[in-house]
Subunit: 221 residues, 2 copies
DNA sequence: CTCCAAATGTTGAAAAAACAACAATTTTTC
DNA sequence: GAAAAATTGTTGTTTTTTCAACATTTGGAG
């Protein structure tokens, strides 16, 4: 079965046997769905009924605020969840939308299984729970990181803060980021054209280098 | 014992019996500590060895960034954890500091117990785990909220986004916030004097009202 | 290959925020 | 309750960002 291979690639299911995965999929009534580029997977305001796991592709968590402006909150890749926090925190409605950036495959999990583990006490729940906690904790830390970037006063500081953090995650001064320039401006919540100007200024000053989505931090600080 | 009464007030331990609490405290080698105003409870860069639970008082999560600027990431109250995410995400060092804003009592939990539940499979772990997940998930959602405020382009939009969200949490147009003006500016990462000007402008326009830490949203949108 | 659309870069003017310095007010401390 | 310290408000100047409009480049789709 094709899907099992995909699932096993995801950190959350590392080391799971085919049998375990199948029982898990049955237990959570997993439903696979496929989306084209720029489709809405979950709409802001919708009821929290499913937990979405990105199997393949890429999607953005987006929000329309009280002033009717749209912003990208997060970028999700395969292995990422959407709706996990809402489920565990007993939220009724989604406050953000999930939109595919490209051809995307997701697994829809029945939310109730996350809240009430199955009667037959299937072992996958125990195993999963620990990983889910780890996942949720990591996500929190990532959000704190984003807060740190957004808290920077100027565009220069914001983008350098972000690039340093990406470099740390990659463990190298050379790294790819998941955004093009327009999306990066959106992520950092700054004017695209101003970001463009500043990136080139930093390049000319020999502080960074970039080409498409690949960046290089030449000078630390 | 005084401490048991304090613990029972905390949402995390609601419904726990004295016996359970005592066994839990023993199991986690809980150590109580008291801090005066403006003391450093945990210093950025320190090793993650304890999980801190605020029992009484108030503390800020603060960070000094790569440009040596300090900012308040979060404000913690009784019932809030510090270090939980780092523990579950297997981080080695703290990337933020925890500083008391007033006289504060904290419980220091041995981190290893969070990672490896005790051999005797004590029931408190099971019970706690579920609540910890709920806590962690709620925190994530709160962080996403903060991101939404910081993503606003102008000071006016930032502060209104924050006040609306506080009003929602309180479930009323009248509500208290945990910050004075200086701290609010810090939290929203804007210039204090500029924030002051804008708050008064909003007041004169009849959009909001405020007095000390109490605010009132008069017009929605 | 050509055309079209999207992404990216550039510029100048307008708006907003930061900064700095100081006045007024409130809170704390002795 | 007076003095000191911290918080808050005010103002003018400087700097930065946004905004708007357009040029250039890139990346498909046919």
């Amino acid at each position: 079965m094709e899907i099992l291979k995909e699932l096993k690639k995801i950190a959350l299911f590392k080391g799971f046997e085919d049998k375990e995965l199948l029982s898990m999929m049955n237990c959570f009534s997993v439903e696979l769905k496929e989306y084209e580029k720029n489709q809405t997977i979950i709409e802001q305001g919708q009821k929290v009924e499913k937990v979405v796991l990105l199997i393949r592709g890429e999607a953005n968590v987006e929000n329309i605020d009280i002033f009717d402006n749209q912003s990208i909150i997060l970028n999700l890749k395969n292995g990422d969840f959407f709706g996990l926090e809402e489920t565990y925190a007993d939220k009724i409605y989604f406050r953000d939308s999930l939109k595919s950036c490209e051809k995307t495959i997701v697994a829809m999990f029945d939310k109730t299984r996350f809240v009430f583990p199955c009667e037959n006490n299937c072992p996958c729940h125990q195993k999963l729970l620990k990983r889910i906690i780890n996942y949720s904790a990591s996500r929190s830390l990532m959000l704190v990181d984003k807060i740190k970037h957004l808290s920077q006063r100027g565009i220069k500081e914001k983008v350098l803060s972000y690039l340093h953090s990406q470099s740390n995650i990659a463990g190298s001064p050379y790294f790819d980021i998941p955004f093009n320039k327009t999306e990066l401006a959106n992520y950092l919540s700054v004017e695209r054209s101003a970001l463009s100007t500043i990136l080139w200024k930093l390049k000319k000053e020999g502080i960074i280098d970039f080409e498409k989505k690949r960046y290089h931090i030449k000078k630390t600080k």
